[in-house]
Symmetry: C2
């Protein structure tokens, strides 16, 4: 990288970071993209990996492949330890990297809302690894249940509790319920499938709080009709390895608690203090510039736009558009122009409950049912990076749609090695 | 399961165990198949997962799918802790299972030949998890190397040592060398790819000791010509996190040692002592019955056939034929006939070095080069279970053949969760 031309460092290869890198790269700007993974994850489809509809590799895209045809963009896999604004240096692992412009796109993390035992005893659903861990957990609970004779223990093993009634929670609940009553009921002929339960716990008084009220009601009805138990106005007070406890002292005995409730900005450590907003987000100007730092941008879930006209919900579209704006503004600054304000163009939102059942909002118009479901598939197939991925996903969706068979239901141990005799393996 | 009809328990769902289960199931015999995984692994293709030609799910087959159309065959995922021959009970995890007939098909495990540091500091290549771990290791060494500036460290990170000059070692060495000089050289434009080295260490005086001499020579020449360093007559004396040491005190500095050298039977623990042969294998009669136990069979890598006329090499074909014979003999015993002796029909053997280069032996005739390579692909595609797998593998092979692009080169962390801000993740 030449020292003449300004260098832009982007931390985080989510929707915002990748979009910014591509835009700057197309204009021949020197870019270094940093992420702790060597791939970009298509988060909206994580739940389909967790429920064995899709293969893990189908919803990710390797970053070095993505950047191959952008010669001025380089990639570094690493964890950013600290940022020093004054000296314009970031420390990634043991490497010190200087920058002229910096885009912080480090996204968000789970927030366990101070619930005792939640961090240790529940599964988050934010990364590909999380999704695989959930798939392994669900499948191995069924293997366990096939072994035990005690009915209560069997019931406990086959009870799956999802905390959080937002899009992630609902999509996971609906899809998991479908998996159990289609493929798994065939895989486990010796199990009485009615023993298995999916329970959705929501603190608020309705599902999909960020959608129009009637869509929440529709979703709730749909889930109940298909056997998913929905607890509204229920806060989780404690999670143990054996059960999850609600504030009204109900105890739900389970081996599997999936946590989709709280969210917190995943801000990198900075040498100088930064103005923050709710959920520990970095406060940024309307131009997405970090308050008091003209050459630093905060985009996506990590930032909060100061007095923004529209409330953002942390969906992919927002991150993509912010990434684009940050790149545009840096290009403007490079040629001496002043950055422009970000304004979000809301194309609408969609979420899936199950086969033929979705909800959404296009502009101001709420939609539901088959239309919303079909639109979701269209839109996500369209945005998924990589032709190979699109074809593979389409194939799996068709397989799932017609034969209720998605991806291979495989439990992959995460041990470094299993080089042990059968008898001595724990 | 009715107590009237005899029950056959099969431990291990490798080639031998699955073959026996299918055969007995087709005859309506009550069978319980036990394995620690919920899938059967097509071991001969493991190296193609380790070198990112294939996806993990493409070389496995879920056992419950495999057994769905055999109503008398049940599956249990678990680890066999102990076998009590006298009471005809095996203990799998906490479950006690009784049997009338038992087939032990628990296969083999790596044997580190007492080399100091080998178990802790080298990667075995025997399970799907092992193959994925190797893929992650190779790819992340390249990511590391792209970060370091010190040339010696870079060289160390990009040095990959494979111990063992048998089929697994050679196939892995050739394939890894190909991966490095095709896809990885494109993925890492900032790295000088000639820094990367694949080194094959073999204790004997030639590669493929179980093949005709000239094939070993051919293989050695081929590997050398393509940049793989081959150490013959070299025993490993020590493995540390930084290097591998040979008995002549050569030190090869590396972060990655893959161990394919020794092998040992993976025998389950038994309450009563069992006659064993070399490599701790259970000694079995010509009928594959465990010496002194008429209702117990030992098949595949776990057993050694007493004064067998042909020396077996632990390849899939042998296991498949032994599994069939054991099933046949149990069927004979059930109807009151006496078991028959096992005799191996050698269809031949094949191994791949790299594109267009293979070696093999059909009957008594050694073959090499393009023909052997092409035959290998044919035969393995034919034996791979599952049409979906065959299609997927064929697709990846063509992709790899024409574009040197196989599976997605993705480094999947094996942590339960990565729900951490970028800055604080180790």
């Amino acid at each position: 990288m030449t020292s003449q031309k300004p260098r832009v460092v982007i931390i985080g290869a989510g929707f915002a970071g990748v979009e910014a890198a591509k835009k700057l790269g197309k204009h021949g700007v020197n870019v270094l993209l940093i992420d702790r993974h060597n791939y970009h994850t298509f988060i909206p489809m994580l739940y389909q990996v967790a429920t064995a509809i899709l293969y893990p590799h189908q919803i990710i895209y390797p970053l070095r492949r993505l950047l191959r045809d952008l010669p001025t963009v380089n990639f570094l896999q690493g964890n950013v330890r600290k940022i020093d604004f004054n000296n314009q240096i970031i420390c990634a692992d043991n490497v010190a990297i200087d920058y002229n412009y910096l885009i912080i796109a480090t996204g968000s993390q789970s927030q366990f809302l101070g619930v005792t035992g939640a961090p240790e005893n529940s599964f988050p659903m934010r990364s590909l690894t999380d999704a695989i861990a959930i798939r392994n957990q669900v499948l191995s609970r069924f293997e366990q249940a096939a072994k035990v004779t005690d009915e209560d223990e069997k019931r406990r093993l086959l009870t799956f509790v999802i905390v959080g009634g937002g899009a992630t929670g609902v999509e996971l609940a609906g899809s998991l319920n479908e998996l159990i009553h289609s493929a798994l009921s065939k895989d486990y002929p010796t199990l009485n499938i009615d023993t298995a339960r999916v329970i959705l716990v929501q603190s608020g008084d309705r599902l999909f709080p960020s959608y129009p009220q009637k869509l929440g009601k529709y979703t709730e009805k749909w889930l109940l009709r298909h056997g998913v138990k929905v607890h509204l106005n229920s806060k989780v007070s404690k999670v143990t390895p054996e059960a999850v406890y609600l504030e009204d002292n109900t105890a739900i005995f389970t081996d599997t608690v999936i946590w989709t409730a709280g969210v917190l900005a995943a801000t990198p450590e900075t040498k100088q203090s930064v103005k923050t907003a709710a959920k520990e987000k970095f406060l940024v100007e309307q131009t997405l510039q970090l308050c008091g730092h003209k050459n630093i941008y905060g985009v996506g879930d990590v930032s909060y736009v100061d007095n923004q006209e529209e409330q953002l919900n942390g969906v992919a579209q927002e991150a993509i558009q912010q990434g684009k704006t940050a790149a545009d503004n840096i290009l403007r600054q490079i040629r001496g122009a002043s950055p422009k304000s970000f304004s979000y163009f809301n194309k609408g939102r969609l979420a899936i409950i199950a086969k033929h059942a979705g909800v959404g909002k296009i502009g101001k118009f709420p939609i539901k049912g088959f239309v919303a479901w079909f639109l979701w598939l269209e839109v996500h197939l369209l945005y998924l990076p990589g032709i190979r991925n699109r074809l593979g996903v389409l194939f799996n969706w068709l397989k799932y749609y017609f034969f209720s068979e998605g991806a291979t239901r495989i439990i992959i141990s995460t041990a470094k090695s299993e080089n042990l005799p059968v008898s001595s393996e724990k």
